[in-house]
Symmetry: C2
Subunit: 240 residues, 2 copies
């Protein structure tokens, strides 16, 4: 059996907050547990917030903005290495981390102040590792950590939460041990366990409930890996 | 808290099996529980199995097959209304249900016999409704049912389980009540709860463990809807 426990009662997270300590005060951990933390909380603690007043939009940003704020689009362009699809003001982009997502992960909702937007963590794997290390120091428990974000999907309606940073987690479960380089998408032999864990945690978190973290117990996901393992290599990507 | 219980000890499912009764003998249900059943088990019970010996491959199927069995590719073409991407023998197709997935859901793994392939249920929502009705009759419990399948994703490595049929479940959780027709992918306000539930159930099912069903307790997902709600309408689909 798997249990998913929400971490309730966390305050609004601010830059410089010791997020791991705030969580440790409100949750119990055992070896093997997986903590899922919403990217927004991690980014806020890390100060990954941009004030739009400081942004000068380019012509490209103005064009992509349609009727929306071109400064927000400029931040999205600054976070992107490649635009995958655009339909102003909608932008799906590849971020510097290699993630493909709406707005390059730049989000105005739940931002700490008006006229600000929140960026993804600079290195989400490192953010996860830092939280894991701090929680080990505080609680003694050897846990896995996932930094999650809500991504839209091609062809499917609605978002699901996925893993953008991991520590102490094997993000993929490869049932064959060896992948078929031509047909791997045909055969469901590699399971994106970290993404399923992130989605499962979302079920108790919710965006409006103010619960940015959850503890999952009973999953054998321990291992080492990077959330970059969850990105399809360019030479296999049929949708570039 | 959410609990996810595997339904253990199910036999290999055969055509005509009363899948709901087999599950009811091995699981307990309370009102509000969500049963997730793997598509493969549902399809087998419904006899959705094709013997390749009866298939005559077309020239198109031979071309798409590369070094693989062209008869399997013919079955995929028969199940498809549109090919989205092809890289022989890999085919990503839109099925008659409107789903976009590898091989139009046609799968040779875990098939009931050699030289056979398993198709998706003809109407997965109806399959889910039939299981829900039968379980209500057997147990008295008012539950939701999800028929799940493992789908690959654009840009992301590995599969996650998603909902291809639902009954008694509201598949999308719309946080705003009203969707923004232009920017809905920008703002994570519509959550694909049914897909997250399917993925969460996969965490206890596993493809090799022979556990094709799981019961999720503690989720407020009750409602009415169709798995078709989880497919992006064509006019909003940036990836057609």
């Amino acid at each position: 059996m798997i249990e998913i426990h929400p971490v309730e009662g966390l305050p609004e997270i601010r830059e410089g907050d010791d997020l791991a300590a705030l969580i440790a005060e409100r949750a119990r951990f055992a070896d093997g547990d997986v903590l899922v933390v919403a990217q927004k909380a991690v980014s806020k603690a890390e100060g990954r917030v941009v004030r739009l007043a400081e942004i000068e939009p380019s012509d490209d940003a103005r064009e992509l903005a349609a009727d929306e704020d071109p400064r927000r689009l400029q931040v999205i362009l600054d976070e992107s290495v490649r635009l995958v699809r655009t339909r102003p003001p909608l932008v799906i982009a590849e971020t510097r981390h290699g993630l493909v997502c709406a707005s390059a992960g730049v989000d105005a909702s739940n931002a700490p102040a008006p006229e600000t937007v929140v960026l993804l963590p600079e290195d989400p794997d490192a953010s996860a590792a830092s939280i894991r290390d701090r929680l080990r120091a505080l609680t003694g428990a050897e846990i896995g950590v996932i930094v999650s974000d809500s991504f839209g999907r091609a062809w499917r309606q609605g978002t699901t939460d996925v893993a953008i940073g991991v520590a102490g987690i094997q993000p993929l479960h490869d049932l064959k041990g060896v992948r078929d380089p031509a047909g791997y998408e045909l055969h469901a032999t590699v399971i994106a366990v970290a993404d399923e864990l992130a989605g499962a945690a979302e079920l108790v978190m919710g965006k409006t409930a103010g619960i940015p973290a959850a503890v999952i117990r009973g999953v054998a996901a321990r291992g080492e890996g990077s959330a970059k393992d969850l990105v399809i290599p360019a030479d296999r990507d049929l949708f570039r």
